[in-house]
Amino acid sequence: MGKLYEKLMQDYRFKEGMKACINCGTCTAICPAAEFYKYDPRSIVDMVQSRDEEAIEKLLKSETIWYCGECMSCVTRCPRKNAPGLIVMALRSLSIDEGYFIHSEKGRQQYVINKEMYSNILNYGYCVYPRTFKYEDHPEYGTTGQWIEQNLDEIHKRVGSNLDGDGPGILRKIPDEDLMQLRNIFEQTGAFKRMDTLKRLSKERADSLGLTEEEYSEQIFNTISEGHFN
């Protein structure tokens, strides 16, 4: 067994999701991503089950594994109880941890996702937090969203939120002792290690392009090249 396949086998999602694929293509037929992107979960599962190390490395460096939306519609349909969505999650984790993510445009986006998620979770205790969710980055928030942002405290009070307040309730301030526990969990379970890999390789790439960290983040957040779509 090769090195990369062996690493995949250590991921519980891979153990659960990879049985024996019969190549029926049901997952691709039901997949929302396969209609939008040049994406075929069937071939990903088939490639992985071949255990071909070279093919797996190519996959980990590719755009393909980043197209899935993790809706898990494929899990319901597979007649052989495979879970292509879980296999993709295992592939993505391995791609980040091995540093292969830096080879693809979609993989490189992981840096800005991690920055946002880690900041929200560790500073506030939420994956999404209203003071960091900006209309500027989310014009689809609409004219109502713009109005909410301009009157955030007033509107939240009106509808009964406890925004940044003490005690329980909607969007309460999560006590520091709880945030510290989240930080301990991140440290102990390898989340910070994952972020370090993303940060190190993203910085190297930004340096090679002569971009500051901010310019690089902006570029990967906004840029989309041709060739991704069906």
Binding site: R13, M72, V128, T143, W147, N151, E154, I155, I185
Partner: protein, 356 residues
């Protein structure tokens, strides 16, 4: 014979939903975009139905959005979940209710994975002790908050001030129900009615007088896609999937949409606005959109809550056409008032989609 067979199959998809005594955890997305929905839920179950729902300020995100956007490892999210279970254990509860569908799917996945791989559960227990000095019991029962409203749907119907009926025609309102993917697509037996024929929202609609619409893309994802929305460059994925659903449902002329996932109503509401800005196209009657609601908002409307107490002013698509159809009395002048009745200005009018 056929009936008996169907009854047997159906029985596999009946989940046990406890009567009372829940430990309640909130949703990141619902708190941000539909905050009054959680307030309404707790008010209904505690004050209208007399149930015990406990909440602690010490619970946090489950980490689900970060996990499904591949930002954090599986062991990280499992330890955060174990910490939430520890808070439930400390508070003396056995029934766990969550507001979020991503969380619901993740709690289910975690508990199933631990059953298959007990050594992983043991490892997470060890990490939790090391990082938080906490221990936990696995909940005896896990419910999504929509399961609970489903369970008490007939009691809500008995107390109804309004029904899902067009007061002018006397006909049932035509309702699209949209179930969040992570409710039952991964573990069909954990949702009411399974993945193909989920009944959790359909049951509410029928009980409150509406008519459920069946349409081709009924089970298609709303298009959130986690990283496909979080990164601006990927949002075409999210928009395209919502567009596909609306094109599919439009010929059936829905009066409203009801959802059980916190993210889906946000995307189905806001992408309607974007489609109108991009293409000048609207899906409702007379230039309006199709209003999209959380199940808590619909339960609140049925029970006679004031629409602005329910936070419906935070929607982009105007809800007034639906309120008028149901015959709900509301004061339009109060829509844009702040905490103490102070007028705080109103949103700009979009270019195409009509708003009130």
């Amino acid at each position: 014979m056929i009936y008996e067979g169907k009854k047997r199959i159906w029985s596999e998809y009946q989940k046990e939903i406890p009567e009372d005594n829940y430990f309640y955890v909130r949703s990141c997305i619902r708190q941000n975009f539909f905050p009054a929905s959680e307030k309404t839920f707790l008010d209904i179950v505690r004050n209208r139905l007399g149930k015990d729902f406990f909440e602690t300020q010490h619970h946090t995100t489950c980490g689900g959005i970060a996990y499904h956007s591949d930002a954090i490892p599986q062991e990280t999210v499992m330890t955060i979940i174990a910490r939430q279970f520890a808070l439930m254990t400390e508070a003396g509860y056995k029934n766990y209710a969550c507001s979020c569908i991503t969380s619901f799917g993740l709690y289910t996945e975690t508990m199933e994975t631990w059953k298959l791989f007990p050594e992983l559960e043991a490892k997470i227990r060890e990490i939790l002790w090391k990082t938080c000095h906490k221990e936990f019991r696995i909940p005896e029962n896990l419910a999504h908050a929509s399961d609970i409203i489903y369970k008490f749907r007939n009691m809500i119907a008995e107390k109804a001030a309004y029904r899902l009926v067009n007061v002018k025609t006397g006909k049932p309102l035509r309702v699209v129900e949209h179930i969040g993917c992570h409710y039952a697509k991964m573990f069909p037996s954990r949702g009411v009615g399974g993945a193909e024929y989920p009944y959790v929202l359909a049951g509410m609609i029928e009980s409150w007088g509406g008519e459920v619409i069946d349409y081709p893309e009924r089970r298609h994802c709303c298009g959130f896609g986690f990283r496909q929305y979080l990164v601006k460059a990927n949002r075409g994925y999210s928009l395209s999937n919502t567009h596909k659903k609306f094109e599919s449902m439009a010929p059936f002329k829905p009066d409203m949409i009801i959802t059980n996932c916190p993210g889906c109503p946000y995307f189905m509401d806001r992408w309607q606005y974007v489609i109108s800005e991009l293409e000048g196209k609207t899906y409702g009657e007379n230039g309006y959109g199709i209003p999209v609601f959380t199940y808590e908002e619909v339960a609140g409307l049925v029970l006679g809550y004031d629409p602005w107490d329910l936070g419906l002013q935070m929607h982009q698509v105007a809800v007034e056409p639906l309120l008028d159809k149901m015959g709900i009395k509301y004061d339009p002048a109060k829509k844009y008032l702040g905490e103490n009745g102070k007028y705080i200005g109103k949103p700009q009018m979009p270019r195409f989609i009509k708003c009130c």
